[in-house]
């Protein structure tokens, strides 16, 4: 006869897995056959299962405890933090690297002339008119006197079709959704008799991006990519495919060149 002390110290992983319900089906029959002929193993399984059930039931009494408001608040805060962490990981993952790489290519394609200007000289004529208008629109959302039409974020297909028709050339969505931004509205404004399509975006951190597109007239110059900082805002502007583009952002997380690359793609 085998004494308990002789057998217990050796962990029997098959028996444990059987007790815990994690034994693969192909081994279950084997273990059950063994249990049928081994009273000691049978007894061990019954007792382990019983102890497990007792501990499990005791643990479940936690579910009957009153809700703890402090725990609930901490849980919410942790969810926010982890969500932010998860989002940031997505934005800094392969997708963002791809967009960032295209930003470099985009700037290099223009002879790497992008540069940063500091100061608030834009309002005194240092920047093209379409840039000033976009920045003004970014601060105030819209210049009501100039607004011709406004579309909600859920009407983008209609907005793009209408804007394309009004501006007599194809207007593409800035596609900032892939960087985690949500389009809030699209508007058509008329400034100095020129139509300007403006898109307003916002990300979960409540940071705004304003994108504008306006046709380049034959008498106007092409602008290479320029990057500027005005107070807390960063902006980029350039000309491409007979359109002047401006991007203004309050975001500190997404570089304005990345936004510009996403708009240009």
């Amino acid at each position: 006869m085998t004494r308990k002390e002789d057998r217990d110290p050796v962990p029997d992983t098959d028996l444990m897995a059987y007790v815990d319900g994690t034994l693969p089906p192909e081994k279950t029959a084997e273990v059950e056959a063994r249990l049928a002929r081994d009273a000691y193993a049978r007894d061990a399984v019954a007792q382990w299962r019983h102890f497990d059930n007792l501990i499990h039931d005791a643990a479940r009494t936690a579910d009957t405890q009153p809700a703890n408001l402090r725990i609930a608040a901490l849980e919410r805060e942790l969810a926010r933090k982890l969500q932010r962490r998860r989002r940031w990981a997505i934005l800094t993952g392969p997708r963002l690297r791809q967009v960032a790489a295209s930003a470099v290519i985009f700037a290099a394609g223009w002879g790497a002339h992008a540069l940063y200007d500091r100061g608030a000289s834009m309002m005194n004529g240092a920047y093209p008119g379409f840039v000033s208008q976009t920045l003004a629109g970014h601060y105030s959302y819209t210049l009501a006197a100039h607004e011709r039409a406004a579309f909600g974020g859920d009407q983008m297909a209609d907005a793009l079709a209408w804007l394309s028709e009004e501006m007599q050339q194809r207007i593409e969505s800035p596609k900032l959704e892939r960087l985690g931004y949500r389009v809030e509205s699209a508007r058509l404004m008329v400034v100095d008799e020129e139509p300007v399509a403006v898109f307003y975006y916002r990300n979960p951190e409540d940071e705004r991006v304003t994108v504008s597109m306006t046709p380049r007239r034959a008498t106007q110059p092409d602008y290479e990519l320029r990057v500027a900082r005005v107070q807390d805002e960063r902006m980029a502007y350039w000309t491409s495919d007979r359109l002047h583009y401006t991007v203004v952002t309050s975001s500190t997380e997404t570089p304005v060149t990345t936004l510009a690359a996403a708009v240009q793609e």
Partner: protein
Amino acid sequence: MCFETRFADGAMSLKSELQSHVASLRRYALVLTRDPVAADDLVQETLVKAIAKADTFQPGTDLRPWLFRILHNTHVSDLRRAKTRADAASDLPEPLARECQQTQLELKQVLGALDQSPEAQRLPIILVALREMSYAEAARTLDVPLGTFMSRLGRGRAALRRIVEGVASGKLSLMHRKEGGE
């Protein structure tokens, strides 16, 4: 699927996932501390630490073992500070099936036996009994290789059996002696 939808879905699933994990943490903490107030304190401390460490969490990895590991380490630190878990067993709330006094008695025996077991064996037994995670996840929670975890679980269960049977046979012989003396 656009990022916006992905983020919205992700936020929703993260919230419900976290809610489930916190309920599990409360269960684990209750068995570890045997006191509902101390258990909630332990969970709070765990969450505060998790918030502070949130930037180190690797998205895409399993959140549950990460949280359990923080709770486990916090508990071990608390134990080292307190040096004792004196009289804790008597504070454990009664199990849901409270009609059975025998169950209560057995639970006290098992918890008493757990207290006598080395910590390295006690924690695997509790983690597995919670039925919240796989062996591999539980091993990650305790930061030990799977083989070590299985070995500790097996030895712990065997030791638990011996202790409980020893207690039971001791009581039985005491009863026999009393009966014989009368």
